[in-house]
């Protein structure tokens, strides 16, 4: 699996994700500075977490409208897998690769904790190592993770089976109590129509090593490594 990790000014979780990719695939990812003109020829492009451009104006707005993201969009249209985590998810929605928007957490606070999710859908290149309905624990760390889209969009996402992760309570039940940030229909991660782009708020990369207190996140990277070997 050849993977590129895009680095914007203010990106800060690139190390975490690169290590996770290496743990799952045994291969080192390549960092790509946003200003570099060409994207390398890779199987997977990752837009990592952080505060691109300080999260000023709107999270992901400035990065989402940057030249490199236009190039990422072209690659995505050509079928390259794209993974956006946290700020990366925000950037992908701003770029238009994914529908909806991430709003400020309902409780108006930054929230960093281990969150329980359920895998809604194991029929994707990002989640094939999980079983449907599996309960997993990934850390979250965000201020704007509250997923919003209009009802038609939400219905479509669900109808097309494009919701991959949902927030759940500790037992793995998808309910209000488990919805840590107010996201519509507990949505934590979604696919694009062609199912080659995944955006998600939680950080699977911070659950890939026993020393981090859990390895539930490894499955996501292993799924990718498996299809993209």
């Amino acid at each position: 699996m050849r993977a590129a990790v895009i680095v914007f000014p203010g990106t800060n979780r690139e190390k975490d994700i690169a290590e996770a990719l290496e743990r799952a695939s045994g291969k080192k990812a390549q960092f790509v500075w946003h200003g570099d003109s060409d994207l390398p020829d890779v199987d997977l492009i990752v837009v990592p977490g952080g505060f691109s451009y300080g999260d000023y104006l709107r999270c992901g707005a400035m990065a989402g409208n940057s030249p490199v993201m236009r190039a990422v969009k072209q690659k995505a249209d050509a079928g390259v897998r794209v993974l956006g985590v946290c700020n990366g998810f925000q950037i992908l929605t701003e770029t238009g690769l994914l529908p909806g928007v991430l709003m400020r957490n309902a409780q108006l606070k930054f929230i960093c904790k281990k969150a329980t999710l359920t895998v809604q859908n194991s029929d994707s290149d990002f989640s094939s190592a999980y079983s449907e309905g599996q309960r997993v624990v990934f850390p979250v760390a965000h201020n704007e993770g509250n997923y919003f889209a209009d009802d038609a969009t939400l219905d479509r996402l669900e109808g097309e089976d494009r919701v991959v992760f949902r927030y759940a309570d500790a037992d793995g039940t998808v309910n209000k109590a488990g919805n840590i940030n107010g996201s519509q229909r507990n949505i934590a991660g979604i696919l694009n129509e062609k199912r080659n782009v995944l955006g998600m708020m939680p950080h699977p990369e911070n659950a890939t090593d026993p020393a981090q207190g859990g390895t539930d996140g490894l499955g996501l990277f292993k799924s990718l490594a498996e299809v993209l070997q």
Binding site: L57, R58, G100, V101, A106, F148
Partner: protein
């Protein structure tokens, strides 16, 4: 020329910040507050031949960057 862009959440989109302010005003003893909404204002000092050109330019900025049409509305005011 000065452009003032006011960006507000579309009606129907929940505004937790506005709600929090409303709540805090109540806690401070202010009465009769029915609703609070919070938005952004962006002031741009720019060179443009005339107000119409300026407005067109700023509209383009809103479309490309300043506002997110999924949840936000915007209005533009131009002054000299």
């Amino acid at each position: 020329m000065k452009a003032t862009v006011t960006i507000t959440l579309k009606s129907g989109v929940l505004d937790p910040q506005g709600k929090a302010i409303e709540h805090a005003l109540g806690a401070l003893g202010f009465q009769g507050v029915n609703d609070v909404r919070q938005g952004k204002v962006i002031e741009i000092d720019l060179d443009a031949a005339d107000p119409t050109t300026a407005e067109a330019l700023v509209k383009d900025m809103c479309g490309k960057l300043l506002a997110n049409p999924v949840i936000e509305d915007y209005s533009i005011e131009i002054s000299a």
